[in-house]
């Protein structure tokens, strides 16, 4: 019998889920510790929401096992639901109530007294910048306002594990910054956060671990840094004064690397690896007698990782 460590809050082993002939999840294994942020990435239909719904006990797996806070999701859902918060991909709010009314109602259902519920609602309404709309019916809210209220609702009970399915979809940059700040603070306080996202910089910024799903399977996993070093590389971009220099640079660099050129800007970009990468690049240009006006380097991003995984087909499938 597999015995997870004490601080493993989410433990998923060989999880599978099929809807008739559609296999939404196949042999998914992952875990997350207390105070960590796990980002689940993947294309549309990769199985992200299916995974979240199973872990939040809204849906049942068809094979494998999963525990949340040490409880099995199929048998002890009622225990799990006491300790989790969830904001699904589609918001779950009562349109006929005000924003504040929604939060008060949900807090009361969780066990807050009337007074506690009001205080907590006001606290979260201020935090998610809904003060002006607090007493308006949710039916009159904009998409981003609904999303923010839904996120506020997910943390009402101060859960140990928080599931956020594409939390920043539809948020303006300011609200997204506030959300990131809030998630970081929750994690620092020991909350485990599992979030799905299409924004790779979000995963990069927040996640201690990343799992990439492709067609229901785990196709890559690791810390953002690990993923970037195995599936992406640093690049150097050199700018030239004229087209002739640029053409010669492409010819010279093409011998060693795979340069991409931006003719309009007269720039050439090549991957640079190892400690001496940039020096080698400059030497090659110098040896060929090509003069450059500028040189910048860039770190790989999760975007690069994602693109690489996509171009090469999903490795595990």
């Amino acid at each position: 019998m597999h015995q997870p460590g004490r601080d493993v809050r989410i433990d998923v082993r060989s999880l599978g889920k099929s809807y008739g002939s559609v296999e939404a999840l196949i042999d998914v294994t992952l875990n997350a510790k207390a105070g960590s942020v796990l980002a689940v990435l993947g294309h549309n239909g990769a199985g992200k929401s299916t995974l979240v719904d199973i872990l939040a006990t809204r849906s049942a797996p068809t094979s494998g096992e999963a525990t949340v806070c040490g409880w099995d999701v199929t048998r002890f859902g009622r225990h799990i639901r006491r300790h989790i918060g969830m904001a699904g991909q589609f918001v779950g709010l009562d349109d006929s109530l005000s924003g504040r009314g929604n939060l008060i109602l949900l807090a009361r259902l969780l066990g807050a007294s009337r007074k506690q519920a009001k205080e907590r609602a006001d606290e979260l309404i201020a935090l998610f910048d809904l003060t002006d709309a607090a007493t308006r019916k949710v039916a009159t809210y904009s998409g981003g306002m609904r999303r923010r209220l839904d996120l506020a609702a997910s943390v009402l009970g101060r859960p140990d594990v928080l599931f956020l399915d594409e939390p920043s979809t539809g948020l303006d940059p300011m609200s997204r910054a506030a959300l990131w700040w809030f998630i970081e603070r929750l994690a620092a306080d020991g909350t485990t956060v599992l979030l799905t996202t299409q924004y790779l910089e979000e995963a990069d910024h927040l996640a201690s671990d990343v799992v990439v799903l492709g067609a229901g399977r785990v196709v890559a996993r690791g810390t953002p840094t690990q993923l970037k070093s195995s599936f992406g590389s640093r690049t150097a971009t050199v700018t030239f004064a004229d087209d002739t220099s640029m053409r010669r640079a492409i010819a010279v660099l093409g011998l060693a690397a795979n340069p991409t050129a931006d003719e309009a800007r007269r720039t050439v970009t090549v991957p640079v690896t190892g400690a001496a990468g940039v020096t080698t690049l400059v030497r090659m240009l110098d040896a060929a007698g090509v003069f450059a006006t500028d040189l910048t380097t860039a770190e790989p991003t999760l975007n690069d990782v994602y693109m690489t995984l996509h171009e090469h087909g999903w490795p595990a499938s």
Binding site: S59, L97, L105, L109, L127, D160, A177, E184
Partner: protein, 301 residues
């Protein structure tokens, strides 16, 4: 330089305008005159079923009575029905089986009360479906909330709504239409019976809603159930005046018992076995509907 080596100061991202979240958010919160909340607080992990039902029923009731147009037409509906039926069928007042009640209106009023109960029970199912579609119940599925509480809250709040409707309809019948119940106590007992009847029956429609998820089908099915039940009962005509086969149907129709009991209570006649039968049927409907709903509703796909 060492002071700049914090995580946010590192030029890790390409975008030179990439922000420092801590600074941005603090600025934005200060702009709102907001003090960051305390990090720690009680963790809330759920409540008893009774609390859940009370909280959710309160929510439904507030919604039901918050729109005055909804309240107005809801209350007007039975009065219009009563007015129409009592005028169209007023000639039936002398029929044997009706004559003993002095007027057709007196005969009709208790049936209308049961009719209101039936209509409200039906709306429980339709209302529940509308609710399931909002996603609000989807959120409750991941919360420490017994989903039976959602169903119970629905039936309880609809029963309260029903009580208000019945009271208004009876008052309107007495003051506007010359309904003459012999005593107030009997009428109140009849209203109570109707509330309990409506509540029990609402479980059947709730069960229907948990089994059949399309509102259109719900409407059609409810319609098919409701009309034969009303017209094959003792609601509008005394059973004795019906064709033989319909009499048999009428005697098997649970609504007949509810109407007979209500009529006897409201008009001060001997109740006989109708009341016991009615209560038995209500309990049966509630138990059966409750069991089916409970089984269908939690089932995760």
């Amino acid at each position: 330089m060492a002071g700049l080596m914090s995580r946010h100061a590192l030029p890790a991202r390409h975008d030179p305008r990439s922000y420092d979240p801590e600074a941005t958010v603090t600025l934005y919160l200060r702009h709102n005159g907001y003090q960051p909340p305390q990090r720690q607080g009680p963790q809330w992990t759920g409540t008893r079923l009774s609390t859940q039902v009370a909280v959710l029923a309160g929510r439904s009731l507030r919604a039901a009575f918050s729109d005055y147009r909804l309240v107005f037409f809801g209350l007007l509906q039975p009065i219009v029905l009563l007015l129409l039926f009592s005028q169209v069928f007023s000639a039936l007042g002398t029929l044997p089986g009706v004559a003993e009640y002095q007027s057709y209106l007196n005969f009709l009023m208790p049936a209308t009360m049961v009719n209101i109960a039936l209509a409200t029970a039906m709306s429980s199912g339709v209302g529940l479906l509308a609710e399931v579609y909002t996603g609000f119940v989807g959120r409750l599925r991941a919360m420490p909330v017994n989903l039976l509480a959602v169903l119970m809250a629905r039936t309880v709040s609809d029963a309260v709504r029903l009580a208000v409707q019945l009271a208004v309809a009876v008052l309107a019948a007495v003051y506007l239409l010359d309904f003459q119940p012999p005593n107030a106590m009997g009428t109140i007992a009849a209203m109570l019976l109707c509330v309990v009847f409506g509540w029990g029956l609402s479980w059947i429609f709730v069960a229907l809603a948990t089994w059949q998820h399309k509102p259109e089908i719900m409407h059609a099915a409810s319609f098919v159930v409701m009309f034969p039940l009303m017209f094959s009962s003792s609601a509008y005509m005394p059973v004795n005046s019906m064709p033989g086969w319909l009499q048999a149907v009428s005697k098997a129709n649970p609504v007949t018992y509810a109407i007979d009991a209500t009529r006897a209570l409201a008009l001060g006649k001997p109740v006989g076995s109708a009341l016991a039968m009615a209560v038995l049927l209500i309990a049966g409907a509630a138990l059966l509907g409750g069991a089916i709903s409970a089984r269908n509703f939690r089932r995760t796909r």
